[in-house]
């Protein structure tokens, strides 16, 4: 006889709602007339995200669960709830940024402004499936950091990644770049998934279980299987580090960020990074925490390499989206500094709180920056080349000022949220005696500041080109996104305490072992 598994539906409600809405979205695509789809998809998407956020709040207020749910497969603990809240807010904001007719291609071969595109529009062929695809990806993002065993984590990884591969190929302008991005992301992503899966198999061979807590327990009791353990941990690590874009696995990031439609880039830069770091923390802290002496030196090297590579390669970029991609690589490096700062319970709570805060503020600022990128247009689409941004400060001082502000937040100038994020992570690392790593971190920050400042120089201190780009009047969605991001960056830059408290209390209830 098979007993029915025990499922804590309420705890998993945010996940179920998002996945349910995604399935509903697919049905809408199948059964409603074309002209109605957009009007249905947008509210369904936004409402489901808002609802999931509300359910997350409800769960938090009811008290953080103390046991993993769904037969030990999903861990809805403090960090998970914080990450869910963060991802849902970021995802909501990204969906507001989606303006399908402008950003997304109508038909695979349709060049912007061509007769084919015209026909596709007339037939109502616009890609409203963007919305359910995004919802599936967001659902995957929610499950990924909450997984309590490696197989669930793998499933979440795929659910998150597959829709993103598709979404990357849907950019309306620069079609070839977009398709190239999708193929590259798919191939490299498939590779990394294979690494992850193989590592999972080896770890199963070592521990006899894919459950994170059981792997942690096996570290102390299983002897003579170190080959399986180290190889398995390394392969799982490769799969995860690929997703956060840590060097030397960062090569996909610039290409994919550049080619993908900008709202999708924003979703990846903010949402995927948050989710993937949640997963990194789960694997390395929960399952492999006691193996720290083995993985710490490697992680030091990866963190240093990631910070330095991100900061230096960003300097040479001429495409604004590629530059932001390398900036995201550098930030992943700063976050890895926090991952290394593992220690006793107090130290863990300090470091975890710092990482959670950093993820939240970095995500918000990133979306704001990409939202600005969508608004600066050439006749052929977004003004991607940096030289086109010259003199923007004179043409539209408000927009350029906001962008400069986001860049200063990336650079970690005080009185922006980015400063406190960096400060929190570095402080945790110093408390863990990783001061040399922090010195490398601040030197990379100084290098990184150079390219952020260079964009400000271009916008404000250079004269505008005669045929410079135009700044479109933003849709209400885009305006809301930019406003929200700027406000959050200012407020958290002056009064970070509430979110710090939240992150800290979330960090206090991590399920360990």
């Amino acid at each position: 006889m098979i007993t029915a598994p025990k499922i804590e539906y309420l705890q998993l409600a945010p996940l179920l709602l998002v996945f349910g809405a995604a399935v509903l979205g697919v049905l809408v695509e199948a059964f409603t007339p074309r002209y109605l789809r957009r009007a249905i998809q947008i509210p369904v998407t936004l409402l489901s995200l808002a609802g999931a956020f509300a359910l997350t709040i409800v769960q938090t207020l009811k008290g953080v669960p103390t046991e993993p749910s769904a037969m030990g497969a999903v861990a809805v603990d403090g960090p998970t709830l914080f990450i869910w809240g963060t991802i849902l807010v970021l995802a909501f904001v990204c969906v507001l940024l989606v303006n399908d007719e402008e950003h997304f291609v109508a038909a695979a071969s349709a060049v912007p402004g061509s007769a084919e595109e015209e026909r596709a529009f007339i037939e109502g062929n616009v890609h409203t499936e963007v919305y359910p695809l995004a919802l599936f990806a967001i659902g995957g993002m929610l499950l990924f950091p909450a997984s309590n065993d490696l197989l669930i984590m793998f499933v979440a990884l795929e659910v998150m990644s597959l829709p993103l591969y598709l979404l990357c190929g849907l950019a309306r302008r620069r079609r070839l770049l977009s398709q190239e991005a999708a193929v590259k992301y798919f191939l490299l992503g498939a590779f990394s998934s294979a690494f992850f899966l193989y590592g999972t198999a080896l770890l199963y061979g070592f521990a006899g279980s894919v459950d994170l807590a059981k792997i942690a327990a096996a570290l102390g009791s299983v002897a003579g299987q170190n080959g399986l353990l180290y190889l398995g941990a390394a392969l799982v690590g490769v799969g995860l580090l690929f997703k956060i874009g840590a060097a030397p696995f960062q090569a996909w990031k610039p290409d994919v960020y550049q080619g993908a439609p900008t709202p999708v880039t924003a979703l990846m830069a903010a949402g995927t990074l948050v989710a993937a770091f949640g997963a990194v923390l789960r694997v390395f802290w929960v399952a492999l925490g006691n193996l720290i002496w083995s993985w710490e030196p490697v992680m030091w090297a990866v963190a240093i390499l990631t910070m330095v590579v991100g900061a230096i390669l960003a300097i040479t970029q001429t495409d604004i989206k590629r530059m932001l991609a390398y900036s995201s690589v550098a930030h992943a490096g700063f976050l890895l500094v926090g991952v290394i700062a593992i220690g006793d319970a107090k130290q863990n709570s300090l470091a975890l709180g710092a990482i959670l805060f950093y993820l939240a503020v970095y995500g918000v600022t990133t979306i704001g920056a990409f939202a600005v990128v969508t608004m600066v247009r050439d006749p052929g689409g977004e003004a991607w080349h940096l030289s086109r941004w010259a003199g923007l400060g004179k043409r539209s001082p408000k927009l350029a000022g906001l962008f400069a502000f986001f860049l200063l937040a990336f650079a970690g100038i005080p009185l922006t949220s980015g400063f406190f994020g960096k400060y929190a992570v570095f402080q945790a690392a110093v408390a863990d005696h990783a001061t040399p790593l922090v010195v490398v971190g601040v030197i990379s920050s100084a290098i990184a500041a150079f390219f952020y400042v260079r964009v400000i120089v271009l916008m404000f201190f250079s004269d505008p080109a005669a045929d410079g780009p135009t700044v479109v009047v933003p849709s209400w969605g885009t305006a809301a996104v930019v406003g929200f991001s700027a406000l959050a960056t200012v407020v958290l830059g002056v009064f970070p305490q509430p979110v710090l408290d939240l992150a800290k209390s979330a960090a206090g209830s991590l399920f360990v072992g």
């Binding site: 709180g353 400060g393 004179k394 001082p397 200063l408 650079a411 100038i413 005080p414 009185l415 400063f419 406190f420 400060y423 929190a424 570095f426 402080q427 110093v430 408390a431 001061t435 922090v438 010195v439 601040v442 030197i443 920050s445 100084a446 500041a449 150079f450 400042v453 260079r454 400000i456 120089v457 404000f460 201190f461 250079s462 970070p496 305490q497 710090l500 408290d501 800290k504």
Partner: protein, 499 residues
């Protein structure tokens, strides 16, 4: 009364207001009014300061970010008070002097003046902060308005100069950030309050590392040789008004930081580093002066003289005698006035002729006697002529240093002679001799420009004859500082001989 918060609040609100005034003329007037109000409030506060009372007065302490042990804590001692006064005096003068600054490049006038007021709030904040973290926040954040003032409103090479300025300072600041974090962690007090951190670091090796983190940031800021290369570029490219605040106030944050934070938080490490710092300072004094002689650009010349002067200040701080440290503090103020006057007059001169090169001038004295006369007074004050205020401070620094380090003091004294060369030779080439063709018909100072200079020259002469009120305020604070470093003045040599 929360004086210090009021001062900053008025500046910030003023800046917000000015940023939204569409009419340029009105924006300027509003800025002038706001800066004068701040000056009046600062003077009102200074009058209530009791020199022999508590060290820190007008203190306000609130929790800001308890998670990091950070407070919004402001208060002033004598040193901070005179530096805040310096800032408050210079800002309205700079506003008046910059009246036409932003017009030439068709750039936003009100932005320039709003940035000035933001900068003023941060200058007050950085000197008033008694929480190390808060100090760091102001220390870094104040780069941004200055960066935009140089980059948007400066000369031909402005964007290069602005980026160089920002990156140098940011790099120093980030090293300091590591030291700030380590200070907090090692002290283990869960507090960034200056008074909590006093004497918290006992281990000498830790002190040395933390000292280096702070000191390099301050040495870049001040700037001390060999960290000085950004200053000539930044000062030469900045608009004259911004250059005055950059060299007159912002750079003082470096020397102020050495006195307040390096010495008091890391006394043992400071004593350990003294020989090196004094050597760097003396090299800077002589090097800055010699390089200044060779300059062909008026603003670069003044910038190099400042490097020489900052050598004197750093030497005075690290000589660790009451005379030298009081002299160094007074030097910070006097240098702000005298170099401020030099930059502004140079700015008026350059505005008329459109060139920064000394060779493009000659015989200005004949066509613009008032301009030439004020330039001479400012120049003489810069070379420390007795009777003008910088003389007092330079004398104090030299005698105070001599008490402990005779040889460096003697070498440093040659800087006084070199100063006569660079100032008088520049004056001779620009103001005397046959009137250059392009200078013919140059207009003399107008009313606005005269009003810019009158208060500065009055202060230079007044404090030259009567420095006592300033010294009365400075001395107790300096004594307290040196007590925290646990040094006492060496016994006077003459008394020994008399025994």
């Amino acid at each position: 009364m929360p004086w210090l918060s009021i001062l900053m609040g008025v500046s910030v609100l003023g800046a917000l207001g000015v940023a939204f005034i569409k009419d340029d003329r009105l924006a300027k007037q509003a800025t002038l009014v706001v800066s004068l109000v701040v000056l009046a409030l600062t003077v009102a506060m200074a009058v209530q300061f009791s020199p022999n009372g508590d060290r820190f007065q007008f203190a306000e302490t609130y929790d800001w970010i308890p998670a990091f042990g950070v407070h919004y804590a402001v208060a002033v001692d004598g040193v901070a008070l005179v530096l805040i006064l310096l800032s408050a005096v210079l800002v309205p003068i700079v506003v008046l002097a910059s009246w036409h600054e932003a017009e030439a490049g068709k750039r936003s006038v009100r932005t320039y003046f709003a940035l000035l007021l933001v900068l003023e709030a941060m200058m007050i904040g950085v000197f008033a902060a008694t929480d190390v973290f808060l100090f760091y926040v102001f220390f870094e954040a104040m780069l941004i308005p200055m960066y935009f003032m140089i980059g948007s409103y400066g000369g031909a090479q402005r964007s290069y100069a602005a980026v160089k300025f920002l990156l140098y300072s940011l790099f120093g600041g980030l090293l300091m950030l590591v030291a700030v974090i380590a200070l907090y962690t090692v002290a283990g007090k869960n507090s960034f309050l200056f008074t909590d951190l006093l004497g918290a670091i006992k281990d000498p090796t830790t002190q040395k590392w933390l000292f280096l983190g702070f000191f390099i940031a301050f040495a870049i800021k001040a700037p001390l040789w060999p960290f000085h290369t950004w200053l000539p570029d930044a000062a030469a490219q900045a608009p004259a008004g911004a250059a005055v605040l950059l060299v007159g106030v912002l750079d003082k944050v470096g020397t102020y930081g050495m006195l307040r934070f390096c010495l008091e938080l890391f006394p043992e490490a400071s004593k350990w580093a003294t020989p090196v710092v004094i050597a760097l300072a003396v090299i800077g004094i002589v090097y800055g002066a010699i390089v200044a002689i060779g300059q062909t650009d008026i603003k670069r010349l003044i910038a190099y003289t400042s490097i020489s002067h900052f050598g004197f200040i750093a030497m005075g701080v690290f000589a660790m005698t009451t005379n030298a440290a009081s002299g160094a503090t007074l030097y910070m103020v006097n240098h702000g006035f005298s170099t401020g006057a030099l930059f502004l007059i140079a700015g008026f001169l350059i505005y008329r002729r459109g060139s920064q090169f000394i060779d493009d001038y000659g015989g200005v004295q004949k066509v613009a006697p008032i301009l030439a006369g004020t330039f001479l007074v400012a120049g003489l004050s810069s070379l420390s002529l007795p009777g003008l205020s910088p003389f007092v401070s330079e004398f104090l620094v030299l005698t105070g240093t001599f008490q402990r380090y005779a040889v460096p003091a003697v070498i440093a004294a040659t800087g006084v002679i070199l100063a006569a060369v660079y100032i008088l030779w520049m004056y001779q080439r620009t103001m005397n001799g046959p009137t250059a063709e392009a200078v013919q018909g140059m207009k003399d100072l107008n009313h606005r420009e005269r009003w810019v200079l009158i208060p500065l020259i009055a202060l230079i002469i007044g404090l030259g004859f009567f420095p006592k009120p300033m010294l009365d305020v400075i001395n107790p604070a300096v004594k307290e500082t040196l007590t925290n470093v646990s040094v006492t003045d060496p016994a006077p040599a003459i008394a020994k001989e008399g025994q």
